[in-house]
């Protein structure tokens, strides 16, 4: 096993040696044609103008053959050729020119060989990956999710390396608008060697995202990574429950099932619109505002969805006790206690059977974008006040869905990218989202109001970031911890400028060194060494906070002024 691995990498190492054997025949033909021609010219006697006999030297013969073979043709030197020499020259011309063209042709065909060029491009990419100095993630599959997640990661300054088996998609990936040159390895991510070439065993590799369209490929990527690089994190996309269980069985760090996440998001949207708005702002770097959708508490939903999404929504709605009517072409496998109408939902008649006029909202979740748009347009003519949720399947349909003024659009790729992004950027964010799931709606409302109060009447773009109170990040705060001056959470959220105004920031989560979680800590909570905090507020305010926690003199003046006003 060891030896096959080495042979393989050696072949990949020098593509030129792989192709030189193909040049053997033309090179030998060229040498033989040259040597026979030269020898003939040297042996055949020539005639000097005076009538004497002479023989061409090897230098002259080599010279004549060289310019004949390359079709330059300087003429007959050193003296006009005799009939005997001319006859030999005829042989020389045809044999050497043909041998020469054969050799040149072979070299050109080897260089322009598509396989050879792919191999060269692959090797150059591997070389660039090996030269990386920054930590990176390996993203397998440039689909809707892969495309989105590398952009999200780029916005947080995290680099990625892409593996894509489809040449056309790989070319698109290379053209994507990033702050760095994305390295795209064209290869099959389910092969272990491809992962190794992408740098999975490098000390800088942080994790692997298995985002291809095939469950089996994602599973293979996860198993291969577990064995090749056990310390590297694996996040995998899974589109069946069996596959999810399989992935979990060998401790895949994160398994994301888009249908399940979509069903959970919908439930959250209906039951806890504020938590949903907060979640949405935090996990999507493209979405920088809090927008709360007002969903009436009573009334039923019409869900048009057939495949796994339909099953997952049914399950989630039943658990959350949301009244709904399922519209699907086939009978649902989950329960017969639900109201069910057969059909796609594209016809007004079907929707009327599902009592569309009394419904609060509609979910158009079939796996065809045309059908989904048709469902929503039909539903809107039946009932104008409906809350509309659309599922967008193909990224190419995005313009219509963006223009459609739907209340919420489920985008599978984006859902996966958001979930992964939340886990990759900072572990604190993921911990907070875990807390958010169980948080009562009133508390979430409190968090949002608190931030709005600090923002005043402005509505800047929102962002989140984390800090740790350790010697590296916060040398300005450490000297005051555990002293009588007892710095509190509120003391950090202050502008270091002269007036010590409150900054447009709040603390969402504080994690103690021993792992205790304090979600939405009160402002009077005492800080301790090695606390880690997740902060949320106006984008850009982290610069001022970082300044404050680095400079002991600034923090000292903040503490003194606040004690004065308090006392």
């Amino acid at each position: 096993m060891e030896s096959t691995h080495r042979t393989r990498s050696r072949i990949r190492g020098v593509a030129m040696w792989l192709l030189l054997p193909r040049l053997k025949a033309p090179l030998i033909a060229l040498i033989i044609a040259y040597s026979v021609s030269i020898l003939g010219l040297v042996l055949i006697p020539g005639q000097e103008p005076g009538g004497g006999v002479y023989y061409l030297s090897f230098l002259d013969a080599f010279f004549v053959v060289s310019y004949t073979a390359t079709t330059i043709g300087f003429g007959e030197i050193p003296h006009p050729f005799t009939a005997q020499q001319k006859m030999w020259m005829l042989f020389v011309m045809y044999s050497t020119v043909i041998a020469w063209l054969y050799a040149i042709g072979s070299v050109l065909s080897v260089i322009s060989d598509p396989g050879f060029r792919r191999l060269r491009a692959y090797q150059r990419t591997v070389g660039r990956i090996q030269a990386h100095k920054q930590p990176f993630w390996i993203v397998c599959g440039y689909g809707g999710a892969g495309n989105q997640v590398i952009r999200f990661m780029d916005q947080s300054g995290i680099r990625s390396v892409m593996i894509e088996s489809n040449q056309t998609r790989a070319d698109t990936a290379k053209l994507s608008d990033m702050t760095y040159d994305l390295d795209v390895l064209v290869g099959d991510a389910s092969l272990p060697q491809t992962l190794v070439d992408a740098g999975v065993q490098s000390a800088l590799c942080r994790g692997v995202l298995a985002l291809t369209d095939h469950n089996q490929t994602n599973l293979t990527i996860a198993t291969n990574t577990r064995i090749l690089a056990p310390r590297v994190l694996v996040h995998a996309r899974s589109e069946s429950d069996a596959n999810t269980r399989n992935l979990r069985s060998f401790n895949t760090d994160v398994v994301i099932d888009p249908a399940r996440v979509a069903a959970r998001s919908l439930t959250q949207l209906i039951r806890k619109p504020r938590a949903f708005a907060l979640y949405h702002e935090l996990v999507d770097p493209d979405f920088n505002q809090i927008e709360i959708l007002n969903v009436p508490d009573s009334g039923h939903w019409v869900v048009c969805a057939g495949d796994r999404l339909g099953d997952n929504i049914t399950e989630a709605f039943l658990r959350a006790e949301i009244p709904f009517c399922l519209v699907s072409p086939e009978v649902s496998t989950i329960a017969d206690s639900i109201t069910w109408v057969q059909g796609l939902g594209t016809e007004a008649n079907t929707l009327r059977q599902a009592r569309i006029t009394e419904a609060v909202g509609i979910v158009a979740g079939t796996n065809d974008d045309g059908d989904n748009l048709s469902i929503l347009l039909t539903a809107q003519t039946e009932n104008e006040r409906l809350i509309t949720v659309a599922r967008r399947n193909k990224p190419t349909s995005e313009p219509v869905f963006r223009q459609g003024n739907f209340h919420y659009v489920l985008r599978e790729g984006r859902i996966i990218a958001q979930e992964m992004y939340a886990r990759i950027t900072t572990p604190l964010l993921h911990q907070f989202i875990g807390q958010l799931e169980g948080m009562p709606e009133a508390l979430v409302q409190g968090i949002i109001e608190k931030l709005n109060q600090r923002l005043g009447n402005q509505s800047p773009d929102l962002a989140h970031f984390d800090i740790s109170l350790d010697a590296e990040d916060a040398p300005g705060v450490l000297p005051f911890l555990n002293t009588a001056r007892g710095p509190k959470v509120a003391d950090l959220l202050v502008d270091p400028g002269a007036d010590h105004l409150n900054m447009p920031l709040i603390c969402l989560l504080l994690v103690r060194f021993n792992g205790d979680l304090v979600p939405f800590p009160g402002e009077g909570l005492l800080l301790e060494e090695n606390d880690r905090m997740l902060l949320w507020g106006a984008a850009g305010s982290h610069h001022r906070l970082h300044l404050l926690i680095r400079r002991a003199d600034l923090f000292d003046s903040v503490l003194s002024s606040r004690r004065k006003t308090a006392g």
């Binding site: 042979t7 050696r10 072949i11 040696w17 030189l20 054997p21 040049l23 053997k24 090179l27 030998i28 040498i31 033989i32 040597s35 030269i38 020898l39 030297s57 090897f58 230098l59």
Partner: protein, 126 residues
Amino acid sequence: MNTQRVWFAFFTVLALTLNFGFFVGEIDNPAHHNLYEFFFALIVSLIATILKIGDRSHLGAVLLATSLVADLQLIAAAVIWGYGSQVTGHVSGNVMASIVSLAGGAMLANVTSVILLIAETIQLKR
């Protein structure tokens, strides 16, 4: 029997024998060193080099390297010979001595090649 191996061994050994034939004789006496023998030694050495391309084993790499050394030495000798005879007009004893000593170096490389070839053959298990 493998035809390719036959040609491979043939050219490797022929490169050595021709090279030796040219090398023997008084080092500075042009009458002892045949021009045509030298020409064939060079051509055969070049062909032997091409035949050695493509074997990616360790032994193959060393064989190719020795062959390249022989080519380099012989080409250097050819250049000196051509310069001596065409530019200065005649091949003096001094020039012949340097040609033959370069060819002698090439012969050492060819000897190494043949020894490696024999070693490899003896190691074969059938």
